[in-house]
């Protein structure tokens, strides 16, 4: 019916329209801020999706990279008075270097090692944020981070941040698509199907996995920086193990090996999270149930829809077309 290419274009146009529609139908700050959160989480999840869906590796510490971006921006602008945009770029570079140092020894090894190393890394980074004294502000964090601006245009409300974040998400999707069509993408898919076969075609599997890991850390760092400039405040709390796991859940639920899977997963999880918070006002135990629920969701998705929602639903659609 549609060629692959047209289908992709159609998906992109539909997504862009949905994104553009939200600010037109509502000016509620609550809904817009949920939209911004979905955008920021999507930025992280898209990178993690590349890592999980194509490089076949999982990181249990991506919240730490998000946190490094946020704290990097906060520290460079507050303590050293840097330009905010420059701080975002420098924080991203620093985060990339850290990811490189962790990935280099672990990605050459079997699948478990990166997972365990990133798990440990996430815990340590959280400790460092907490114990960082004046540099990180300790448990209470750093307040009064400046808004981003272009000339006299200041990104000082949810709508403006929304309009900054979502074009970046769409850009990321386009980049991912082109990346997967490139030499690196083909190599990654070969690695995903059979690492031995890929290696025998002279593909340096360790190096390719490392590149994807570092890229995913950069995405997370930029999203973290934007977060810091949006809420004007950072503390260690949002950057812990639970958020790392939530990110993995987003990718699993949406499907890592698809263009839109991570975005769909980010949206689904954020909405479920908010519903539970709302439900918690009426029925107090509900707000403690998020963690259990995420565990159950992942187990069910892995058992019954192992490709994730995006791919799983599309499979069903294709089957219907054929019938």
């Amino acid at each position: 019916m549609f060629s692959e290419r047209k289908l992709e274009l159609l998906g992109f146009v539909v997504a862009a329209l949905i994104v553009a529609a939200l600010p037109l139908v509502t000016r509620s700050n609550y809904l817009l801020s949920i939209g911004v959160f979905i955008g920021l989480y999507s930025m992280v999840a898209i990178g993690l999706g590349l890592l999980m869906g194509y490089a076949g590796q999982v990181s249990l510490g991506h919240a730490a990279f998000y946190g490094l971006g946020a704290y990097g921006s906060a520290i460079l602008t507050l303590h050293y008075g840097w330009n905010a945009w420059l701080a975002i770029v420098v924080a991203a570079f620093a985060t990339a270097l850290v990811a490189y140092l962790i990935g280099m020894p672990t990605l050459k090894l079997h699948g478990h090692y990166l997972a365990m190393a990133t798990l440990g890394f996430g815990i340590i980074v959280r400790i460092l944020f907490n114990e960082g004294g004046n540099l990180t502000g300790g448990p209470s964090g750093l307040p009064a981070i400046a808004d981003l601006n272009i000339g006299s245009f200041v990104f000082d409300n949810d709508l403006r941040i929304y309009c900054l974040v979502w074009p970046l998400v769409l850009l990321q999707v386009v980049l991912s698509r082109n990346l997967l069509r490139s030499r690196l993408g083909r190599a990654l898919r070969a690695i995903h199907d059979s690492e031995i076969a890929a290696r025998s075609c002279a593909i340096n599997t360790g190096r390719h996995k490392l590149m994807v890991f570092v890229l995913s850390a950069i995405y997370a760092s930029v999203a973290g920086s934007l977060y810091a400039h949006w809420v004007n405040f950072v503390n260690p709390h949002p950057f812990g193990f639970v958020f790392s796991i939530e990110l993995v859940v987003m990718v699993v639920v949406g499907g890592g090996a698809t263009l839109w899977g991570p975005v769909i997963g980010a949206a689904a999880l954020t909405v479920i999270d908010q519903l539970l918070v709302q439900l918690g006002h009426v029925f107090a135990p509900a707000k403690d149930m998020d963690v259990v629920l995420f565990g159950v969701i992942v187990v069910l998705v892995l058992l019954f829809l192992p490709q994730g929602l995006a791919r799983g639903l599309r499979r069903k659609g294709v089957a219907r077309d054929g019938a």
Binding site: I245, V248, V292, F294, G295, V298
Partner: protein, 296 residues
Amino acid sequence: MQTSELLQYLVTGVTVGSVYALVALGFTIIYNATGIINFAQGEFVVLGGLVFYSLYVVANVPLVLALVVAVLIVAAIGLLMERLAIRPLIRSPVIVLIIITVATSVLLRGAAKLVWGPESLAVPTFSGDKSIFIGGAALQLQYLWVLGLTALAVFGVRLFFDHTLVGKAMQACAINPDAARLAGISVSRMVQGSFALSAALSGLAGVVISPITFASYDGGTILALKGFCGAIIGGLGNGLGAVVGGLFIGVLEKLGIGLAPEGYAGLQDAFAFIVLLLVLFLRPGGLFGTERAEGV
């Protein structure tokens, strides 16, 4: 640093190291049977402590009975996990297996929070708060319980693998599942057994350490991380190596705190991680392992 102080750090280190050793041994047993690293291993420790709290403190069950029942309950949870989450996915790629164990750990942790609440629960020591002194180092009686039961468990596991038919069958599955199946061994039953045994060991660790660290729903992740470090240092898959590795992490951590300047105690959890990265970087096969840790 004085010798008595050094001795004190050693004693404390070996005691917490015993817990890491049991966790590391638990990792090893499941890894050998299935090739899976079970990220829910730390939750077994936590559940051991919490169930023991309910039995021993809340329900006033006698010590030994409470200990045995708590360990059995955790073993049953291990069995259940294998049955519901692992078995349907056992032929999936590594990444799926990692995620399913992570999801199980999240689920167990969330369930523990719902059942026992977010606070740390105090468990009384098994035989009073007295200490005995050796060379200027205070040795709480509870430490003796930890050391004694750990030694007993490690010795028991050793006997089980070397001298019983079931233990040997499990080892056969670890060495070559296909050959074991040809010899009439039910591999899936052995996998189930490995989860039960591994969960029981970690549950035991949780029970004996609960009077020292308190029982809390969220301590599992860091315990799993340190146990895993122990298993890696010992060479993944090497049971004795895992025990030694776990003890090594415990001692290193306590000495590290002792030597670190005042006010940096919060960084103690960083030691295990730094050691993990160093070992992975320099000797991925572990300090005692000869095999390369790489597999395809």
